[in-house]
């Protein structure tokens, strides 16, 4: 039997980067932009934070506030720039979204691994590997402290970014469903022509939602490095989590609140193979890792078969908008 009190916090920690990614991507997709650059953006968010924190720690990291703020701001700037690049190409220049997204992922993962592998050399630093222990200490400080009762372990054993992820998802859901801005945004994603005729600036909504979405997704990368990985960068360690975040958007049928639980579920599925006793049969573990993707495919199929209107992707998802085109 699995020890749930030990398992759930591990699943949540695995799920948080996915939650950031999927909340960001949901906002983006609601505007009709299918941003396949999310995996790249999450790498850039991570490495930008690492770069900022690396130089600040080299300087001794005197102020606790700045130790947290600098990586946070660097990460957000990095992913914002990626978001802007995507918007410029797809919205202003009306390029194909799939191609732009894939190029962004190649580029972003390249940036992450390049600077992760070369930062020490470029900065002529004496340290052998990137270990940002001071910064990480702040990011992974938990409200529970050393308490070991079940409540603290389940709810209070996470760094502040984890709580931020949940709050951001709730806020995104509120904005999408209960405010005028959200209504406009959904209109842009469903039918940009109609939105445009109603006087909504399609370009502005697409830019803003995609850029905010990128920044949120980038925080997922930062969380992974600073909290989960304890400030240690290693090449490709982030793996395919970015794609999993995109899968999560489908799984949660474009609903950020559902995304919170779905991300914890995916986090659980991601590490299930460690907890399920398989005896000596190691091969089966690899098949367990397949579960999140199989489940996503099933959701994708079921939603399209049932064809319920409220569970469909935004109607204009993936299509560029040009006013003068019929």
């Amino acid at each position: 039997m699995i020890d749930l009190i030990a398992f759930i916090p591990r699943a949540v920690i695995q799920g948080i980067p996915l939650l950031f990614g999927s909340t960001g991507e949901t906002l983006t997709e609601k505007s009709g932009n299918l941003n396949l650059g999310i995996p790249g953006i999450m790498y850039v968010g991570a490495i930008s934070g690492v770069i900022g924190s690396f130089f600040y720690e080299q300087a001794g990291a005197p102020s606790p506030v700045l130790t947290v703020l600098i990586p946070l701001l660097c990460s957000m700037t990095g992913s914002l720039l990626m978001g802007l690049l995507y918007c410029f190409l797809t919205v202003t220049l009306r390029a194909n979204q799939n191609v732009t997204g894939l190029a962004l992922t190649t580029f972003g993962v390249g940036i992450g691994n390049f600077f992760g592998g070369s930062l020490i050399k470029l900065a002529n630093s004496a340290v052998p590997v990137i270990v940002l222990s001071k910064t990480s200490a702040y990011f992974s400080a938990t409200p529970a402290g050393g308490a070991t009762d079940w409540f603290s372990r389940l709810f209070l054993s996470y760094g502040f970014l984890a709580y931020a992820a949940v709050i951001i998802a709730l806020a995104a859901s509120y904005i999408l469903n209960h405010t005028r801005i959200g209504l406009h945004l959904r209109a842009v994603g469903e039918s940009p022509t109609t939105a445009d005729a109603a006087g909504i600036s399609v370009t502005r909504y697409k830019y803003v939602s995609t850029c905010i979405g990128s920044v949120i997704a980038g925080l997922g990368g930062l969380y992974y490095i600073m909290d989960y990985a304890k400030g240690i960068w290693s090449s490709d360690a982030f793996g395919d989590r970015g794609w999993l975040a995109i899968a999560l958007v489908i799984f949660s049928v474009w609903r950020p609140t559902l995304g919170i639980f779905a991300s914890f579920l995916f986090g659980g599925l991601y590490i299930l193979n460690v907890y399920i006793p398989t005896g000596t049969n190691l091969a089966i573990k690899e098949l367990y890792k397949m579960l999140p993707y199989v489940v996503t495919v099933l959701v994708l199929v079921v939603t399209s078969v049932r064809n319920k209107r409220e569970n469909q992707p935004p109607a204009s998802l993936g299509l560029p908008y040009f006013r003068e085109e019929r």
């Binding site: 799939n98 191609v99 580029f107 390249g110 390049f114 690899e286 078969v305």
Partner: protein, 368 residues
């Protein structure tokens, strides 16, 4: 002050068509700008003379006979995958599952080599491998295609997920077949008997792949431009409604075209596993399924042009790694260069499709 009929500063209109030399000119300018820009970035990072950087990039691909062969081999495989995904793209069906389909083909190949390697005569084994890899790749593509045709399931996301399912299945079989137990890898399959290894043609083990890629480029060009199938694909891509109206069975075309895509990807898997690597890993595709999307799109889905676009991307990534290794930096530098050139080319498409009209002189407007 706030004039109601103010003309916007920039007005964008769609172009009819451009003469080929101007299209070519815009693209060449984009590539040139990208090359200059990459040079600048490299210079900032390494502090080296940009000319020397270009020489290094060039050497990375053409420095020795072996490097030229590696360059050709990588181009050939990338081209094969790009050719495979192209028919689907022509009908606006975004098959992002190239990686998964290659893995499926590669897995089938490896399975035949391992399980039947000592049971069948050489030529029969290769025939079985060929059939198995093509079928495996095709199956992997037909699953999403069938749901797309039947229920209009989003094929971009479906094929994307199929990649990771394939990756995990391959990971499963790697553990099953690993040599020695616990190594986490298969190692070279049939190293001594060489059963199932594709025969070497000419001076290099890579030549066969290059020849196959060239043959398929021509075949695909003919298929897309001069066959009934190619015509049907074009009609479906242009307008599904028109296609239905003229009596084309759109569902069948979608499944048939994706089947072709998957089968070719499976073949690429065979070439990788049996032709060059002689082993199976989860990363054997090297992300080619995604790169191929960009290769195909940059070439406007034209198989002949894809020869150049795939060459360009392989050339850059080899050059980038060469620069990086020269300065002791991470080999991912190639990805950054690839990204930069892609952004420039993606951006340049805008100026081919659209025309930017600036507002006429302001004085004239005041007179209104």
């Amino acid at each position: 002050m706030n004039k109601q009929t103010r003309e916007p500063l920039i007005h964008i209109t769609k172009r009819g068509s451009l003469p080929w030399y101007r299209t070519l000119g815009i693209r060449a300018a984009a590539i040139l700008l990208a090359v200059i820009f990459s040079g600048l970035i490299t210079m900032l990072l390494t502090g080296e003379n940009p000319l020397k950087i270009y020489v290094t990039i060039f050497n990375g691909s053409f420095g020795s006979a072996r490097r030229v062969w590696v360059l050709l081999q990588n181009t050939a495989i990338l081209l094969m995958v790009a050719l495979a995904v192209t028919p689907a793209f022509r009908m606006r069906c975004w098959n992002l599952g190239g990686d998964g389909q290659i893995l499926a083909g590669g897995l089938a190949t490896a399975a035949c080599m391992i399980l039947l390697g000592d049971k069948l005569p050489g030529w029969l084994l290769i025939v079985v491998m060929l059939a198995a890899s093509v079928v495996a790749g095709a199956v992997w593509a037909v699953i999403p295609a069938w749901f797309k045709a039947r229920f209009n399931t989003n094929e971009t996301l479906f094929t994307l997920m199929m990649n990771y399912i394939a990756t995990q299945i391959v990971a499963f079989f790697i553990v099953v077949w690993e040599v020695p137990k616990g190594a986490g890898q298969i190692g070279i399959i049939n190293q001594i008997s060489k059963a199932g290894w594709l025969p070497q043609v000419g001076p290099s083990k890579y030549l066969l792949n290059v020849i196959i890629a060239v043959v398929f480029t021509v075949l695909m060009y003919l298929y897309l431009n001069y066959s009934k199938h190619g015509y049907e694909i074009a009609v479906v891509g242009e307008s599904e409604r028109t296609a239905r109206y003229v009596g084309i069975k759109v569902d069948r075309i979608i499944v048939r075209t994706m089947l072709l895509s998957g089968a070719l990807c499976g073949l690429a898997g065979l070439l990788l596993v049996a032709g060059t690597d002689h082993t199976l890993t989860t990363t054997i595709t090297g992300g080619r399924g995604f790169t191929a999307v960009m290769v195909s799109w940059m070439a406007h889905f034209n198989p002949i042009v894809m020869v150049f676009t795939s060459f360009l991307l392989v050339f850059l990534s080899k050059g980038g790694s060469e620069v990086a290794s020269g300065f002791g930096l991470s080999a991912s530098f190639g990805d950054i260069l690839t990204g930069i050139i892609l952004f420039f080319i993606i951006g340049s498409e805008f100026f081919i499709t659209y025309k930017v009209n600036f507002r006429k002189h302001a004085g004239k407007e005041n007179g209104k």
